[in-house]
Symmetry: C2
Subunit: 225 residues, 2 copies
């Protein structure tokens, strides 16, 4: 196995996370770094989707990835095979990252030459939604086996996401998952959410996702977003 | 749709949750109520497993169910069709239940005639593991689509569970899930954990699970556990 760097993140001392998040966003804009905050339940396919994303965009942007987990470095090990810059963040038991924790992660990653930084947040549909990380955009992955009713049960997560990837559509025939109802529920929470069905395993839908992300990063770096 | 009761739970005022949990456990033992705390990721199949469990044990024990969610009452609506006593708990955005919140839920459920009370905790592998609810036993469901590496990433959840149900084994052929490796990882975290592969959709494995639960409830009510 490749050696990956592991950073133990310290708990934040700042009371006003929103303010810290705005400051971080401003710093990143000045440096031309687009930060994507990627969230999902455990096992929805964040790492596999990231591998596909890196494959699709590695010649377009310099990419850096922060893998946040309570423990282990299996995801960072996987990402390191893509050739992208990667760091494993350990949250010390914390169920989410806030802006200051994200800033620590970015410092550990060293973003001087990074244009697209991706934070793979802790697998959790509740707490990560409550903390602005300072990201330019929030993305989440909902996977088919989880069921189409999740926007009803985890409203905030779907409300704060700019884009929802519906992953594992290759197994749609084996689950009672109503794609149209799912889209309706997501738009009930967030009418502006972009929804892209994908299969990270086979690569289906990755082109549309990469196109969306490319446009967002480009606009951000031109100061248009 | 059937009317289900919805209880808005208040945040706890007690600093020492472990003490409150021990007190609640003692109260429940005196009343002959066995409380099971059922945890998992969102969409791992808690409600479907509960429907099967109620079907299997409804003639053996008087069963009461507390469905905890951030929002919605879809799970309580489902459980109400089983004929079991049920209440929907809304956690006010909280990502877990502690002992005092569980006590509020049990009061709302009215457990006078209940022998087996089941708390379906918020779908989350992080926070619920950190709070003793006062349950006699902790159970969790890991579903095949989530991947066999979850015990590496969410150590505490697997450490505190007495039993792990590996659900959705009907879709094993469609996922890269190594059952033996998964068992090895679970036992690495918790050598005593009972592991039962099930398929809540088809009913496979529910007999073994019901047998385990029946024995635990019976021993508890006899003061032997």
């Amino acid at each position: 196995m490749r050696e990956v760097r592991v950073l133990e993140i310290k708990q934040s001392v700042f009371a006003d996370n929103d303010q810290q998040a705005d400051l971080l966003r401003q710093d990143l804009r000045e440096k031309g770094v687009f930060l994507l905050n990627l969230m999902s339940s455990p096992g929805a396919g964040k790492t596999t989707t990231l591998m596909r994303t890196i494959e699709a965009l590695k010649d377009t942007f310099k990419i850096g990835v922060m893998e946040a987990d309570i423990d282990s470095d299996v995801d960072a090990q996987t990402i390191s095979k893509s050739g992208a810059k990667v760091i494993q963040l350990h949250t010390g038991g914390m169920c989410h990252l806030d802006a200051e924790m994200t800033r620590q992660g970015l410092a550990g990653l060293e973003t001087n030459d990074v244009e697209l930084a991706i934070l793979e947040n802790v697998g959790n549909l509740v707490c990560p939604a409550e903390f602005d990380t300072g990201a330019a955009k929030n993305a989440m992955i909902l996977s088919v086996p989880e069921g189409h009713d999740k926007p009803l049960k985890y409203p905030l997560m779907f409300t704060i996401c700019d884009v929802v990837l519906i992953n594992k559509i290759d197994v749609l025939p084996y689950f009672d998952f109503d794609l149209e109802k799912c889209k309706e529920y997501i738009h009930m929470r967030n009418p502006k959410a972009k929804i892209i069905p994908i299969c990270a395993k086979t690569g289906e839908g990755i082109e549309e996702w990469s196109r969306w992300l490319t446009e967002e990063v480009t606009n951000w770096r031109r100061g248009k977003a």
